[in-house]
């Protein structure tokens, strides 16, 4: 009983009601570490990778060859991984000007993007090969999904020779557009004013975060929402309740075989964000095991995801890798409970979380 009380008093967020000023300071430390240690480097890395990808596309267009096609494909996969780490921060600058949807229009359930890209390639529309004009077209034509089709979809092998310069030019424009979006988000997060100052400085006059608890809730929400997204949307979107119900073509990035690479990126991003923010330090001593368990399970999840390689339809057809995918779903469920139920209860944040998934 005594221990329980002492532990509770050590919780900065639980103190929010009693000592708002002090709690706000501590919350802003956590948020500050999340921004400096994760958000900024993650979006900077994405911008850097997108830049390299754009160069690789231009190189391919200037000198079509299998080697340059392979190089562009490799850079595409690296950019997907960088985006998968960064995209867990799906609020703030990336939510403005439809950047999120322009970067990744997925799932494309009705094949809207696919049809638009295919008809663009067929019509050889010059405006779609101009990055400035492309940015104003359908969101489904200007991001990672569109470029994946260019590089890995039907007819992509023509990029290795001089037969289809338009396909390459459109692909280079998409890469350039991805770089532009990544650059805008990177710049917005690097400014000391703007969104950073809102998130890191909660207070009564702040229009988004009235106190430290609300600022930390945004961070905790990343873990809770992204784990649910990974499991319910990305993984269960193609992994059926039983083998016969699998839908491999509903897997994200199936064409480029980056499905698991992306899930691993999401999970490693969550791990990094949790570590650098030191949110676990705010747990009372008798609940510190949660932080360790979270780290161990995230590491395990990343390793499990990375152990499934090759085409996703083949992985689903083979019991051993398919079991790993089911295991991955279990890991994310366990993590969801740790973050969403146990940790939020320790922080006294429980109440706020039924609203996150509200209607």
């Amino acid at each position: 009983m005594f221990n329980r009380r002492a532990a509770a008093l050590a919780l900065p967020f639980l103190l929010a009601a009693a000592l708002p000023t002090q709690a706000a300071v501590k919350a802003s430390d956590v948020v500050g570490r999340a921004i400096d240690g994760f958000v900024r480097p993650a979006y900077a890395s994405l911008d850097d990778h997108a830049g390299t990808l754009t160069q690789a596309m231009r190189q391919l267009c200037n000198a079509p060859s299998q080697q340059n096609l392979d190089a562009a494909r490799t850079e595409f996969s690296a950019t997907v991984e960088a985006w998968s780490v960064a995209e867990i921060i799906g609020f703030g600058p990336v939510k403005e000007n439809d950047r999120l949807e322009r970067m990744l229009y997925w799932p494309d359930r009705k094949s809207i993007g696919l049809r638009q890209v295919q008809s663009t390639l067929a019509a050889k529309d010059p405006s779609a090969a101009d990055p400035a004009q492309l940015a104003g077209k359908s969101v489904a034509m200007q991001g990672l999904g569109a470029l994946e089709y260019v590089l890995f979809g039907d007819g992509a092998e023509t990029l290795a020779n001089k037969d289809d310069p338009y396909r390459c030019a459109y692909g280079a424009a998409v890469a350039s557009n991805i770089q532009a979006i990544a650059g805008e988000v990177r710049e917005a997060w690097s400014k000391p004013d703007g969104f950073v100052s809102l998130w890191a400085n909660p207070g009564p006059k702040n229009p988004l975060y009235r106190d430290g608890t609300e600022a930390v809730t945004e961070l905790v929400g990343v873990f809770i929402n992204e784990l649910e997204m990974i499991r319910e949307v990305r993984l269960k979107g193609f992994l059926g309740a039983k083998p016969g119900a699998d839908k491999p073509k509903q897997a994200i990035y199936w064409r480029s075989q980056n499905t698991l690479n992306s899930l691993a990126g999401n999970l490693s991003g969550i791990d990094k964000l949790f570590q650098v923010s030191k949110l676990g330090d705010a747990l009372p001593a008798d609940a510190r095991w949660m932080a360790e368990s979270i780290h161990i399970q995230l590491t395990n999840g990343v390793a499990t995801a990375k152990s499934v390689t090759g085409p996703i339809d083949k992985a689903l057809a083979d019991p051993a890798p398919r079991d790993k995918l089911e295991h991955l779903a279990l890991i994310t469920s366990s993590l969801s409970t740790l973050f969403g139920t146990r940790m939020t209860a320790e922080f006294g944040l429980t109440a706020g979380f039924s609203s996150l998934d509200g209607d």
């Binding site: 939510k95 949807e101 229009p207 988004l208 269960k236 139920t341 609203s355 509200g358 209607d359």
Partner: protein, 370 residues
């Protein structure tokens, strides 16, 4: 007029009755007590993670609970046969009809292939037909499913909502027109609750003839507000429909979130004081009117706030800060509000705490005010 009957402790009763309606019928005496005292119904999540619906007394005391297989959302009520229906939260596939007195066994309605519920429904005035908002998810269009209460709620047809992602629907005072909030958001059960069309979403408010299924009126918001999802509604004393929205654009935008719709007129968005609007965090979770007092209340669980509006003038006349508040129902001269923290705040301000319960987004009055 409400006849007060002494209540036995609910925990004793639940222990005696087993798990609830599904396990045992209420004893006759208790059924009579419930018949007189049941005033509100709401879905909930228990702290242990299980789901159900509860019947509450005027004072907010839990009289009875019903287990549900998954999370519920709204409850609708047929005052003729005195039956309630709790709908699964989207993308759920069940609705459960229950008698709040526990005399009748609950009846589960399953959604048909290719459809799921959105969490809201409404009875025709005579209680014969039940209308539910549903998702025709492969075609990404909203439909109203029609169920015949006289034949164990068999599904006898459907008609379009003339929009995507319908949410709450109301029956207007003429007994024939349905008002439907088409949230505009595409979802598909293969991808859980992921919102698939935020860049192109186009919410609308439609009036549909429930007999013919014909569209009577359709209203959209200005293009700049295409990410303002119209979700919840209620009707004030003058018959004007009030609606609450959720904004899917940037969190730093501050669009109006509450509006009203009078027949034959364009939608009108309500200007509110900046501090009140800011407190909603771009998310209205519930809307309820109190015709007796000429007021409308809206809640924001995201912003932990509740505001009461004078329906005639459109002015905000009261605000209240309440953690994770969402459920709203008229109660005396005010509103009953329920929260995700298990609180039940009565219209006169009394508060009951039920820490084992996370009250879901909506609470419904199933009896006239006493």
């Amino acid at each position: 007029m409400l006849v007060r009957t002494p209540l036995i402790d609910r925990r004793d009763f639940l222990r005696a009755a087993g798990a609830g309606f599904a396990a045992a019928m209420a004893p006759r005496a208790w059924a009579e007590t419930l018949a007189t005292d049941a005033v509100f119904a709401t879905a909930f999540v228990r702290r242990d993670g299980s789901f159900g619906a509860a019947v509450l007394s005027e004072a907010g005391k839990i009289l009875h609970t019903l287990d549900l297989p998954d999370r519920g959302h709204d409850v609708t009520f047929d005052p003729v046969a005195k039956r309630s229906v709790v709908f699964a939260r989207q993308p759920g596939t069940f609705a459960v009809v229950f008698d709040h007195t526990g005399r009748e066994k609950p009846l589960t309605i399953a959604s048909v292939a290719g459809r799921h519920f959105f969490g809201h429904g409404v009875f025709s005035s005579d209680g014969a037909l039940l209308y539910a908002t549903e998702n025709d998810f492969d075609n990404a269009v909203g439909v109203v499913g029609v169920y015949d209460a006289r034949t164990k709620f068999s599904r006898i047809g459907e008609f379009p909502t003339y929009g995507m992602g319908p949410h709450e629907l109301l029956l207007l005072g003429d007994g024939r027109t349905l008002a439907i909030a088409n949230g505009g958001i595409e979802t598909h059960p293969d991808f859980g609750r992921a919102e698939l069309n935020l860049a192109t979403m186009k919410p609308s408010y439609t009036l549909v003839d429930r007999i013919t299924g014909d569209l009577i009126e359709k209203h959209e918001l200005p293009p700049a507000l295409h990410q303002l999802s119209i979700r919840h509604m209620d009707r004030d004393q003058a018959g004007t429909v009030w609606f609450g929205c959720q904004y899917r654009g940037s969190a730093t935008d501050r669009p109006a979130l509450v509006g009203r719709a009078a027949r034959g007129k364009e939608l009108e968005l309500l200007e509110m004081p900046q501090d009140v609007l800011s407190g909603f965090r771009n998310y209205i979770g519930s809307v309820a009117a109190n015709p007796g007092t000429g007021t409308v209340a809206v809640t924001s669980p995201e912003g932990n706030s509740l505001a009461v509006i004078d329906a005639a003038s459109g002015r905000v006349i009261a605000t209240k800060s309440l953690v994770d508040v969402c459920g709203l129902a008229p109660d005396g001269a005010g509103f009953m509000a329920t929260t995700g923290a298990g609180e039940i705040v009565g219209g006169a301000g009394s508060t009951r705490a039920e820490p084992d319960y996370v009250w879901d987004n909506h609470v419904l009055r199933i009896a006239a005010a006493g």
